[in-house]
């Protein structure tokens, strides 16, 4: 687990009674908890129960986490455990003849590790994105949209010449790449500097 000073600070602030820090923790890691519930294919009701229990346990544990930096790992493991409990209980009470997928029965260490990595990376990317100047946020959002916006649309919306979209895109991504959030992720060696280069979109 990497030492993300942001996570450590958030946990400390939330433990100290700062609701804003709690909200930020939730915003960062709700997708992690959600994706695990989704993998277990829980109903909305069960997902809500699991979510309730996981976050409530975290509220209780805030001041006691031995390694606050390992929060994503704690969340992933706790969510898995709660999901397994719901699934096992439902399976037995409904007396289903079918065996639950073996892969889900065992807490798959590798899958959890991957989910944690993805969650940390996503959280860092979104944090970095949120710190970009609004112009770059808008530009990158339009470039990521499904279906994609045309350069003409982007040019009209953002009031920049079509010819500068490529270079601005590269600059926005470079700022993202150099952001503190991504650096904290341990991705310093991501950065290949491509100043103003026209990307091969």
């Amino acid at each position: 687990m990497r030492d993300d000073p942001t996570v450590v600070a958030l946990v400390a602030r939330a433990a100290g009674g700062d609701p804003g820090a709690w909200i930020e923790i939730v915003e960062r890691y709700a997708p992690l908890v959600w994706s695990i519930c989704a993998r277990f294919q829980l109903s909305n009701q069960d997902t809500e129960d699991v979510g309730q229990n996981v976050w409530l346990l975290l509220v209780e544990q805030l001041g006691k986490l031995r390694e606050p930096a390992a929060l994503p790992g704690w969340l992933a493991t706790t969510t898995h455990r709660e999901c397994l409990r719901v699934v096992t209980s439902a399976q037995k009470s409904e007396r289903l003849g079918t065996k639950l997928d073996e892969a889900l029965q065992v807490v798959d260490k590798t899958a959890i590790d991957e989910e944690i990595l993805v969650a940390e990376r996503n959280a860092a990317l979104l944090a970095a994105f949120a710190e970009l100047p609004l112009f770059y946020q808008q530009l990158l959002s339009m470039l990521m949209a499904e279906p994609p916006h045309s350069y003409a649309e982007i040019s009209a919306k953002l009031g920049i010449p079509v010819g500068s979209i490529g270079p601005q895109r590269a600059r926005g991504l470079e700022r993202l790449r150099r952001s503190a959030a991504l650096k904290a992720l341990g991705t310093d060696d991501i950065g290949v500097n491509i100043p103003g280069g026209e990307p091969g979109a």
């Binding site: 009701q45 976050w55 037995k92 007396r95 996503n122 979104l126 990158l140 470039l143 990521m144 091969g200």
Partner: protein
């Protein structure tokens, strides 16, 4: 979110990403965040209301319904009462579900007050008598949790229960 390709990308986190990969990773992060419904996030945010509430959290440690196979093998009669046990460091709550009510006892036995709280915030209060017994009547509709405060200052909160 949990596709093979996601896993592969995640393990390459230390390698350099070009612009295309970075944009793809950002898109994936945005998509994953957008996949989470607002109610799920709201539920998580509201859990903080329990911060600084000096209640110990009691974990479900036994549920007769989760033990049906064994029960069926052991008992000849089919009509069994559902029993649940919640355990916290200082207190155990034993519950039995009858037709209309929830009958329980706290161990070690002592007097206090018990609240059943539903998600919309409806609270039913019951008295815990000298030998730790209480009755919640009627059984709350939908998910609920129990909070037990003993006269000598123990404060325990269970996880959510749906009957």
């Amino acid at each position: 979110m949990t596709s093979e390709s996601t896993f592969r990308e995640a393990s390459q986190v230390h390698e350099s990403w070009d612009d295309e990969q970075l944009l793809a990773a950002l898109r994936e992060a945005v998509t994953a965040r957008q996949a989470v419904p607002a109610w799920f996030v709201d539920t998580a945010k509201s859990a903080y209301a329990w911060h600084n509430i000096d209640a110990e959290l009691a974990q479900l440690t036994y549920d007769s319904e989760a033990d049906l196979d064994l029960a069926a093998a052991v008992r000849s009669e089919t009509a069994s009462i559902r029993a649940l046990t919640f355990t916290s460091p200082h207190l155990t709550l034993e519950l039995e579900v009858t037709e209309n009510s929830l009958v329980g006892q706290i161990i070690p036995p002592r007097p206090g007050t018990l609240e059943a709280q539903t998600r919309p915030g409806v609270t039913t209060t019951a008295t815990v008598d000298e030998i730790g017994c209480f009755v919640v009547d009627p059984i709350p509709e939908g998910p609920f949790r129990l909070r037990c405060r003993t006269d000598d200052g123990i404060d325990v909160l269970t996880g959510w229960i749906t009957l």
